[in-house]
């Protein structure tokens, strides 16, 4: 069978994976037949249940810890590792064997993502896995779960849409696609940015009514605050041939800040309160407390009449009554810790204390150093103030002297916003910023399904890709540059200045190629040669071949180095061959760079993710 029967959306999240499907045969225009596929998984040793979410956790048990039959999966396998709910609960008791946040590691440029480094804290005897392998394990589980129920339509033969954060760099995108290909999902694979997937879900849920809820000139801000990451995108509503069209005009930086940080912050606040009363918690109890605080938070932030919610931490031993700790979380504490800590009222001119991606040398995830989400949002909107300047229909819409891009509508996504007051606080912030510059308040786009929207929107995208609905255009959200040394005479003690040569312009669509730049760079035959690599999410006009002599840190971000090796073959080792760097965006949605020798002949792939190779 070559024709796909289903479009499958996979949300490979930092803390949960979701699998959604659209039946391509029975869906018709806005009448879409879609569902969330339940995922069977181990929930206790020897017990398998179906759940809508597969927690993105991998547990590497000790050989004596679980008997093989206690690891039996519905498809008759007994792998030596555990994925999903049981992995999460076992990891709570034995964190040294738990792989968590593999996705954040996958886009961590400070480490070799193909190297077995996780869990970082594991002792010597634990056989570690790479961030890439961990992602493969989750995808493998999802594939097996689907194939068990749909043996006549295996996942590998379906149209698979895998979501990635909009802020993922080319290397992280390529690694995600590689993980999918490694488990056999590469045949009809395409990557989709998560905020776009959330917007596709909103379109799907509106059942064709979305055209009435937005109008030409709208700028939709998508705020996706998941378990581990904050992801922003701007999508403009334009017009082509009389019909409304959506164009994604900007994406934000990669910010490791999400709901998990908030729950942990609350738990630490309560722990400090208990410590004042003379009660110390062990790590196991802290975990119970975090869980209790998450529930209490949702109650307190969802219902303004509740002043305090009791939080109990059960004892570890079988004596429940004497050993259980009881405390309570008050509205005031939540407001202080969460609302003021993570969503403080700041000006539109506020900026995060440090840039998110500061330390690349430390082995550990580069968590955002400023926990205040509004400052990251203000920085994003400020940096993207020009985002719609060259867009048809938007020429006169930007008010003079606007200090940031003015969104007109906002779509929220992610479990964090189940707490309504955080959503209201964000709206209040945005409206305050807009009012200060004389702009009207934003409209809230309703109807989001905060946990499942990304997967459902992704499956829907697989459906509209077949020409059966509106598509969000936009292409790549960055322009890419390589560093070339300028040809000025060497000055002792001074590094030769680096110029940035544009090799891929902003907005390249899937399946397109950039022109060949006229400039050449030299590759030494037989030796790996590295280039400094840069991306810009604001320079929309640079064409291939443009050379920047200087730039500010705010407009161009240095990415990981890239590497090309020209095999010796019929050339002399050590010979310098002039090549041109050619960029293309694959059908999957990954960036591909090639070194094309001047005299023609075969082009050589330029590798991302080169750390640890040399």
């Amino acid at each position: 069978m070559s024709e796909a029967r289903f479009a499958i959306g996979i949300d490979l999240g930092t803390t949960n994976c979701v699998l959604a499907a659209v039946d391509l045969q029975t869906s018709d225009l806005d009448e879409v037949v879609d569902w969330i596929e339940a995922i069977p998984q181990l929930t206790a040793p020897g017990a398998v249940e179906e759940r809508p979410l597969l927690p993105s956790f991998l547990y590497l048990p000790h050989p004596d810890e679980l008997r093989p039959e206690d690891r039996t999966l519905p498809w008759g396998e007994q792998p030596p590792f555990v994925v999903g709910e049981l992995a999460r609960s076992m990891g709570g008791r034995t964190p040294i064997r738990l792989v968590a946040s593999a996705k954040s590691w996958l886009c961590h440029p400070g480490v070799d993502r193909r190297a077995a480094i996780l869990p970082v804290e594991a002792p010597e005897e634990v056989e570690r896995v790479s961030p890439l392998q961990a992602s493969m394990r989750y995808l493998e589980h999802l594939r097996a779960a689907w194939d068990l129920r749909h043996s006549d339509a295996p996942l590998a033969e379906q149209e698979v849409v895998l979501t990635v954060p909009a802020s993922f760099d080319p290397a992280a995108r390529e690694l995600t696609a590689e993980a999918a290909a490694a488990v056999g999902l590469g045949r009809h694979l395409v990557l989709l940015e998560e905020p776009q997937a959330a917007l596709y879900h909103w379109i799907l849920a509106s059942r064709g009514e979305w055209r009435k809820q937005v109008r030409l000139g709208d700028i939709i801000l998508v705020i996706d605050l998941g378990g581990g990451t904050a992801d922003f995108s701007l999508i403009a509503v334009t017009e082509r041939g009389g019909a409304l069209e959506l164009v994604r005009v900007a994406v934000g930086d990669h910010i490791l800040l999400g709901g998990d940080n908030m729950d942990l912050a609350l738990a630490h606040a309560v722990r400090a309160k208990l410590a004042e009363q003379g009660t110390q918690l062990d790590p196991w109890q802290l975990q119970g407390l975090t869980h209790g605080c998450r529930n209490a938070k949702e109650i307190l932030l969802g219902d303004a009449r509740v002043e305090a919610v009791p939080v109990v931490v059960p004892s570890r031993g079988s004596r429940l009554i004497g050993g259980t700790l009881r405390t309570e979380l008050t509205r005031d504490e939540v407001a202080r810790t969460l609302v003021e800590g993570f969503f403080p009222m700041v000006e539109a001119s506020a900026r995060p204390a440090t840039r998110a991606r500061a330390a690349l040398t430390k082995l550990g995830l580069p968590y955002a150093q400023d926990a205040a989400m509004p400052r990251h949002l203000a920085a994003f909107l400020g940096r993207q103030v020009e985002a719609t300047r060259d867009l048809a229909g938007f020429e006169n819409r930007r008010p003079e002297n606007a200090s940031f891009l003015h969104p007109t509508a906002v779509l929220f996504n992610g479990g964090v916003f189940k707490a309504h007051s955080l959503l209201d606080r964000t709206l209040e912030l945005l409206d305050g910023w807009l009012a200060a510059e004389g702009a009207p308040p934003v409209r809230l786009l309703e109807g989001a399904d905060l946990d499942l929207a990304v997967a459902r929107g992704a499956a829907y995208y697989g459906y509209v890709r077949r020409g059966r609905g509106v598509r969000i255009r936009g292409g790549t959200a960055r322009a890419y540059y390589v560093g070339v040394e300028s040809a000025m005479p060497a000055v002792p003690g001074l590094e030769p200045p680096i110029h940035a040569l544009c090799i891929a312009p902003f907005g390249m669509e899937e399946g397109t190629q950039a022109e060949l730049p006229s400039q050449e760079v030299g590759l030494v035959v037989g030796e790996p040669v590295r280039f400094r690599f840069f991306g810009s999410s604001v320079r929309r006009v640079d064409q291939v071949g443009a050379v920047l002599e200087q730039w500010t840190a705010d407009e161009i971000e240095e990415l990981e180095e890239i590497e090309a090796t020209l095999p010796a073959e019929d050339r002399q080792p050590g010979e310098v061959v002039p090549v041109r760097l050619h960029a293309a965006v694959t059908e999957v949605g990954t960036l591909r760079l090639e070194a094309v020798p001047r005299e023609g002949g075969e082009a050589w792939k330029v590798e991302f993710d080169v750390r640890g190779k040399g």
């Binding site: 069977p40 929930t43 206790a44 040793p45 020897g46 017990a47 398998v48 249940e49 179906e50 008997r67 039959e69 206690d70 690891r71 039996t72 519905p74 008791r93 009791p310 109990v312 059960p314 570890r316 079988s318 004596r319 429940l320 009554i321 004497g322 259980t324 700790l325 009881r326």
Partner: protein, 179 residues
């Protein structure tokens, strides 16, 4: 009810059904043969009421879930007389929250009677005596009219986790040894 009053249509349906069952059920076929040969059917021997053992697996599984999520067994095994109401109340929150989650996640429970407790209601003849229990002045013939004292509960769906072959369900909670 008299068999001779069956309409042609009903008899046709019966004939078709009988054909199917004669093919599928040898005992039934033998009975029809006896009827066809003119024997009067022997009164079917009344099945002797029997009690059956219920396999304990799913009971143990549910108990394990209640323990895992709500520390149910821990709670029952404690001597509550030794503690203050405040201590018991703290523990009861753990038990209530966890057990409620189990009941909510694995069972679909609905009241047997949707009416509010305290209202008068009338039970027609042929009501389900398993689902509604009569108490008090139980005399006379249906329909019965009385006051709803308890709405009753009925499970309309149950999904317990699948258990691996060889998994010992008698272990409600494993002992934990921290290394």
């Amino acid at each position: 009810m008299s068999d001779s009053l069956l309409s042609v249509f009903k008899r046709l349906i019966l004939a078709l059904r009988a054909v199917g069952r004669i093919l599928a059920d040898p005992g039934f076929a033998a009975g029809v043969l006896r009827l066809e040969q003119g024997e009067t059917p022997a009164p079917a021997e009344p099945a002797r009421p029997a009690l059956r053992e219920t396999p304990p697996d799913s009971a143990l599984q549910l108990l394990a879930l209640l323990q895992q999520e709500g520390r149910f067994v821990d709670f029952l095994q404690e001597n509550v007389t030794a503690y203050s109401d405040a201590d018991i109340g703290g523990a009861a929150r753990v038990v209530h929250e966890g057990c409620r989650k189990v009941v909510h996640d694995y069972l679909q429970i609905k009241p047997v009677c949707e009416e509010a407790e305290g209202v008068r209601l009338t039970l027609p003849a042929g009501f389900d005596a398993t689902a509604v229990r009569l108490t008090g002045n139980v005399v006379g013939q249906a329909p019965f009219t009385g006051t709803l004292m308890h709405r009753g509960w009925r499970v309309i769906g149950i999904t317990l986790p699948k258990v691996a072959e060889g998994h010992d369900v008698r272990v409600l909670a494993p002992a934990e040894v921290e290394l």
